[in-house]
Symmetry: C2
Subunit: 187 residues, 2 copies
Amino acid sequence: MAQQRTATTINGVDLETLQNTVSAVEQDPSLGKCKFRATNKWVGGAHNRSRIDDFYAAGEERNHQQPFELDADEPPMLAGDDQAANPVEHLLHALASCVTTSMVAHAAVRGIHIEELESEVEGDIDLRGFLGLADDVPKGYTGIRIKFRAKGDPENVAKLRRLAEFSPVYNTLTQGVSVDIEVEPME
Amino acid sequence: MAQQRTATTINGVDLETLQNTVSAVEQDPSLGKCKFRATNKWVGGAHNRSRIDDFYAAGEERNHQQPFELDADEPPMLAGDDQAANPVEHLLHALASCVTTSMVAHAAVRGIHIEELESEVEGDIDLRGFLGLADDVPKGYTGIRIKFRAKGDPENVAKLRRLAEFSPVYNTLTQGVSVDIEVEPME
């Protein structure tokens, strides 16, 4: 009997590829270790640019099929030229995109079909923290909310919320992470 | 005597604009409250796209001069088509760009001139967490490192490390933040 090849793709996720990664990591847990990277160069004022190219995963140094460039700037009221989204908006993109991908992939491996998925994310920051005007005001986000709307069987939609909790960016933000910063003089 | 207009810009940061924002927030602390936002739409598989347009700051709803679109995808080994940086790489861009902007702006208001500034950021993730293969393995980043190289007077470069700590993304990541996720059926 011929294999039903269409069954290997759900939600646009190639389950065979994903299963190969899962199997490899199951057999050798050390293959789970990944290092993701970016380099950034200040352009001027509030404008800077990151380049994303190589990463380490499944025991090997790897490269994306092409490098990606990402800009950041600030709106005029924060003394920028508004040529790109600002850093805290990029953080919201990282979060929304990660939760989306996590729900889609984990739904796929459970045989849960999603037809459409969209979200709105909003986060609160009090500028008094960043500006150094009040020591007791946090400098970062104090709360972030995401509302997803999903199209699919109602019983499938009800299963998605729990799958959001696999998201690496969601977990990084809610658990916190140590960030080590060094500044050296340029040679 | 004519005003020295050049003195109002340091590191490409317009100090008058920034000082106006600082003064406004000092006079009315409620003007510090900001809400940043993004909307995201799933394209298919690991590919999705955010749009960043409006935000709330200094007591008003505002719009960027133009909306910004940001894509996310995954490399082939994570069952994506590698059409964009992945979500955890976007998080590193958010961090590097925010620390850069924070150092540049806080240096400017202190009269510290920077000539060049670049950085490399790297973070560790163990895929066993995301893949659900080990409950005791964190799903997010377990450590992030940024190395900056700065060109300028050595005594100025030495002052930059402390200014990094004003960064909202740095503070969000190191302190953690509550993230509320809702999933509703699409109308």
